[in-house]
Amino acid sequence: MFTKDNKPEKFRDAETIIGASIKVKGNFHGEGNIVVEGQLEGNLRTEANLFIGDKAKVVANIEAADAIINGEVRGTLKIHQYLALGPTAKIIGDINYSEISIEKGAIINGQIIYVSNSGKPSRHQESQEELSEDEAETE
């Protein structure tokens, strides 16, 4: 699982790193861990883990196994296993998750939908949520 560090050890050997001085446009599909520190527009999908840094700006629908997000994302998130939103995360769009942790300061503007590992949505749904108090943890 992820730690609370900004970038866990496993991202050291990431398959792809999009640095802060890089802009990517289009459908980005990877099989390994991906680190995004720069800008990305389009779609982003990986079979493995995704890390989005605090300076990153992503306008894309995202699909990944696990994800740590500290930057800004505009689009739908579909995280099959574990999603961690850091204190600087800003999500404009719906979130589909199986497990989630949200740190104080994270901003979410959209629906948060629990999807079990079998892929079926549950009745847990929240909308237009902004967390600004204690660290919250759901599921």
Partner: protein
């Protein structure tokens, strides 16, 4: 049979002593062969391919990175003689400066190169290709103004000055320690480094680079105008390597 290709610059007096040492060592090891001097030849490709057709088994570049680049195409670019080339080995005896390719193959010094040649430790490595030009080490271009197209699926636009390096084989003498390159994985490793510490990385099998103001440079030698399609040919070259090579 061994074919030794001597580069032009080895005609200078300052290299005569080291060449003598190499030739004596090769004789001692029973690795004599035919010597071809690049200076006297206009079409090296035809000469090398005729030697291959005549039964040459090992082509050895005696010189530096530029020597390798001059002859690598002739060693592998061949449909007509493909049958003869299946088992051709390529090796390097590095002499003088600018020998990072030999270094990354684990060949550090000229006399050590003779022993490595005798040991015949062979790896089948990938080769990068841009238009009709081959590269062993890397293709580089200025970041600013460059657009990288990956399979028509997405494009990458560096926003700052820096360098885009497309690696096939890491040149351990000159390249960043953080860079990991595997020349036997059938992939090109793309590193984008700005003037600061920012480093981007991805691994692809082909890409297209365009830049209106800057050329693409292959192995620090050949300049190519863009747009340029960069591909990789997996396992194309049999190279003789040393133990201290930069890959497994």
């Amino acid at each position: 049979m061994n074919i030794y290709i001597y580069d032009d610059y080895l005609n200078k007096n300052k290299y005569s002593r080291v060449l003598n040492r190499v030739e004596i060592r090769l004789t001692d090891l029973g690795l004599n062969g035919k010597i071809i001097r690049l200076g006297a030849i206009k079409n090296i490709r035809d000469v090398i391919q005729n030697e291959i057709k005549s039964g040459a088994k090992t082509i050895i570049a005696v010189g530096n990175n530029q020597t390798v680049n001059k002859i690598i195409g002739a060693v592998i670019d061949n449909e007509l003689y493909g049958f003869f080339q299946k088992n051709i080995l390529f090796s390097i005896i590095p002499i003088g400066d600018d020998n990072s390719i030999a270094d990354s193959l684990g060949i550090k010094k000229e006399e050590e190169a003779c022993n490595i040649l005798l040991a015949r430790r062979v790896k089948k490595i990938d080769i990068g290709i841009v238009n009709n030009y081959y590269f062993l080490n890397k293709a580089t271009i200025e970041s600013q103004g460059s657009i990288i197209d990956i399979n028509g699926e997405y494009i990458i636009e560096p926003q700052e000055k820096g360098t885009i390096s497309v690696f096939n084989l890491k040149s351990s003498a000159n390249d960043d320690k953080n860079i990991k390159v595997n020349p036997i994985d059938g992939k090109l490793d793309v590193y984008i480094k700005n003037k600061g510490k920012d480093l981007s990385f991805l691994s692809v099998s082909k890409l297209k680079i365009s830049n209106e103001h800057h050329p693409l440079i292959l192995d620090d030698i050949i300049e190519i105008k863009t747009p340029a399609d960069i591909n990789i040919i997996a396992g194309k070259l049999n190279v003789v390597v040393g133990k201290d090579r930069s890959f497994e």
